[in-house]
Amino acid sequence: MNFTLESLAIVLIFIGMAFFSFFMSLPNILKHLKTKGDKSS
């Protein structure tokens, strides 16, 4: 896609930060899904 190394790094760091936030929330998401699953069964 014709990124330079610098612009690719800029985009990847941004995506990395968003995923970092997502991974921080992952334990809560899993707990939430588990609670929902337990309730529906």
């Binding site: 014709n2 612009s7 800029i10 941004f14 930060m17 968003a18 936030s21 998401i29 939430h32």
Partner: protein, 485 residues
Amino acid sequence: MSYIGNWIVFVIYCILMLFIGYIGYKKTRNIDDYFVASRSFGLGVAVPLFAASFISSASIVGYTGFSYGYGWSFLVKYGYGCAFGWILLQVFATRIYNTNYKWYTTSDLFCSRYYDEKFMRGFQGFFNSFGMLLYVIIGLTGIGTIMEIFLGLSYFWAVIIIAAIFLTYTVTGGMYSVAWTNVVQFALLAIGILAASFISVRLSGGIANINNTIANVEGGITNLLPGAMHSIDAKGAAPLGKSIGMIVGIGTMCPVAIYYHRIYFSIKSKNVAGSFVGISAIILAVLYIAIGLIGMSGRVLVPELTNVEQVFPSIVMRLPLFFSAIVITGIISAIQSTMDNQLLSAGSSVANDLYAKLINKDVTDEELVKRTRIITLAVGIIATIVALIRPALVIEIYNFIMILIPTVLFPPLLLGLFWERTTREAGIFGCIFGLIAGFLWITFGPSNIPATLVILPINIVLMVIISKFTPEPPKEVIENFFTSK
């Protein structure tokens, strides 16, 4: 140009919002419903509510303009700040959500943590409601200009119509209306941004062609060096020092934004509180990259612009009729979804913190719902009138407040939620110091060093010292805030 297509879609949108507002009104029976929707929201509401509140007109029109002007460095200047904010919100999440208390407003949180009603209630009530009022005014002035371009309306009528719609559904239905309209508005704004990005990238010959074109941009309206649009600081045109200041400013603004606190107060479980920002972060990251691509595609489609802020309207005008109407509705959704939450925050802050807790402590639940509606309406009308007059002073005060909000609220919130030894005296000091020092720095300090970078660490250190020399907080407060259940 013909505005008929845009008008048809806009009218349908308005009817839909008012209908959702009516359902919210029917659902609202008491003050718990009105302020925090009886703390009933799951992920299905919390994610779109947060994401829609996060994206405002500044994000769409401002960021496309910046990416048109300076290329990928827009992510460094704005994107990293937002992402830092999502991380901080994630860190604060399960602390702001606290089942030991029934908070309605941020002032409630501060009063509980700093076991103080006298100072905290009045200070937080005034500061937060004033800040939110300014946000709504600025939001309304932004929408006026956009509607002028897309619907052919004069600024006056654009502000009146938009204010009438979001005031009606916010005032009548409270948090239910705000949340449910935001769910629809989020869908519309996401479709609008993605459609505009997809089509503008296609018209520009793909991402590779955009990257090739911007690699060769030099000089022009933003006076760029060759290769600047692929550079972290646009080769000096977007200085890294200022970007770092912006990252800290935007980032620390997120966990203290009282309209995000309202979302935490309206949530039904700790797991949802700890999840919704993380999920939203992925969605918002995609949308911000799409917004940047719209701006940079402008370098291929409309390279001759003399004002970077014209890039978004210029591109939307080039879209086929149906798509332009969708994109415009998406923008109006983005703006209204941020303003409605801010208006409700301002109204709730005045009604709960200043009226019910200070002026009329004996007010009944039923009466408070009525009074809150009147107060929120009054706040909305004041904001509309000021937006119509557009005094230059408002923009100046707004710029002040944008810097003061983190310097005043961030240190007491951070230490209050994460260090149990933080005392009432330190909390009160943190608020006052943040306000005075922030004000002095903006007025007399060097303009190339952002206030947040200096005031925040000093405020935190001073608060720690004061806490060490003042009596410990009551056991009850420590238990309620720091004992996990």
